[in-house]
């Protein structure tokens, strides 16, 4: 089953500094899937996000957080999380909790066809002040993965495009701009970057990461050894 962004994926949710510390998606009806949360936040301190959901609590795993607490990190926060949803649900909502009362936003993706045990592959993070950013390359660990990217811009510069990523972006004028997106990958071992273009010089943090498909783990080869006739297998059979 190939990876796909399910049509049940809810809209981005955004809060201004006056809103408080949380944001909740509109209700959605996801199938069994991996839920991928891409969070962006404003504020100079090293703020952080956490995730909750209605109904039976899912285990939300932090993929990475990039903020001013990291060496070379910029103000604001870019963070990503995933949770595995083993069965479909109705009227589900997902809430982000931000450690600051500054502006914040989250885009949640419902990803079908993801590896149901270890969906996360490689990941990387960084910061940039260039109008055109190419994220630091990582090497994909499985074939036909998706690569996601999430960013915040403390300078609140307008997003202007990407040459390789389907983005969902927003801006609170004078405060923050934010966005996230994804693209499909090819063979395992690919060098993966994302292109992020801003209208002028930003103060950018970003996190990029790989979500693997079912059966997408890199093949583990048995070491060569003696075989009996009973162990002989057709040449077309993989170990």
């Amino acid at each position: 089953m190939a990876l796909a962004i399910d049509a049940s994926t809810p809209s981005r949710v955004t809060g201004t500094g006056a809103t408080g510390l949380t944001g909740t998606t509109a209700a959605f009806n996801p199938p069994a899937s991996a839920l991928v949360a891409c969070c962006s936040g404003d504020g100079a301190p090293a703020n952080t996000f956490s995730m909750t959901n209605n109904g039976a609590a899912l285990t939300w795993t932090e993929i990475a957080t990039r903020n001013s607490g990291d060496t070379g990190g910029s103000s604001g926060v870019a963070a990503a999380f995933y949770a595995l949803l083993g069965a479909s649900r109705t009227a589900m909502t997902v809430t982000y909790n931000y450690s600051s009362s500054n502006d914040s936003s989250m885009k949640l993706y419902v990803v079908t066809g993801a590896d149901t045990s270890t969906p996360l592959g490689a990941n990387t993070e960084g910061s940039s002040s260039s109008a055109t950013t190419t994220t630091t390359a990582y090497t994909s660990t499985a074939a036909n993965s998706f690569s996601f990217v999430v960013f915040n811009d403390f300078n609140a510069v307008a997003y202007s495009g990407s040459s390789d990523t389907t983005m969902d972006t927003g801006i609170i004028a004078g405060q923050i701009s934010f966005g996230s997106g994804y693209k499909s990958l090819g063979a395992a071992g690919s060098s993966v970057t994302h292109n992020i273009q801003m209208a002028s010089a930003p103060i950018l943090n970003w996190v990029a990461f790989e979500i693997k498909p079912v059966g997408g783990a890199a093949p583990s080869l048995r070491p060569p050894g003696p075989r009996t006739l009973l162990q002989a297998v057709p040449r077309s059979t993989y170990w």
């Binding site: 809209s11 949710v13 809103t19 909740t24 509109a26 009227a91 909502t93 927003g170 609170i172």
Partner: protein, 102 residues
């Protein structure tokens, strides 16, 4: 960043899963902060037909009393219609989370 107080207009746009857009543009007096109106826009095939400000009693945006049903194209909302939803100043709007949905 902690910039100066927001100046009119306040715009939030949301993309659906097919690239279609729904958007709200709220205008206000930069001095008094009083809302003067809003316009909402929706691409004809956009999955989302509502813009939700804040949460309802059950903690979901879907039940908020400050929801706007958005027809395809551009629709104007006057200040009275905003006041009927308890939205008098831009700070009333900024105090609420915002999202879109079906």
């Amino acid at each position: 960043m902690d910039g100066p107080p927001m100046s009119s207009p306040y715009v939030q746009a949301f993309q659906d899963n097919f690239g279609n857009v729904i958007r709200i543009t709220v205008t206000f007096d930069n001095t008094t902060r009083a809302l003067s109106g809003a316009t909402v826009y929706r691409d004809a095939n956009c999955q989302w037909t509502h813009i939700y400000l804040g949460l309802g009693a059950d903690g979901t945006p879907d039940t908020t009393t400050k929801a706007f049903t958005v027809s395809a194209g551009t629709t104007s909302i006057n200040a009275n219609q905003l006041r009927q939803r308890g939205l008098n100043t831009i700070e009333d709007v900024l105090a609420l989370q915002i999202t879109a949905g079906p």
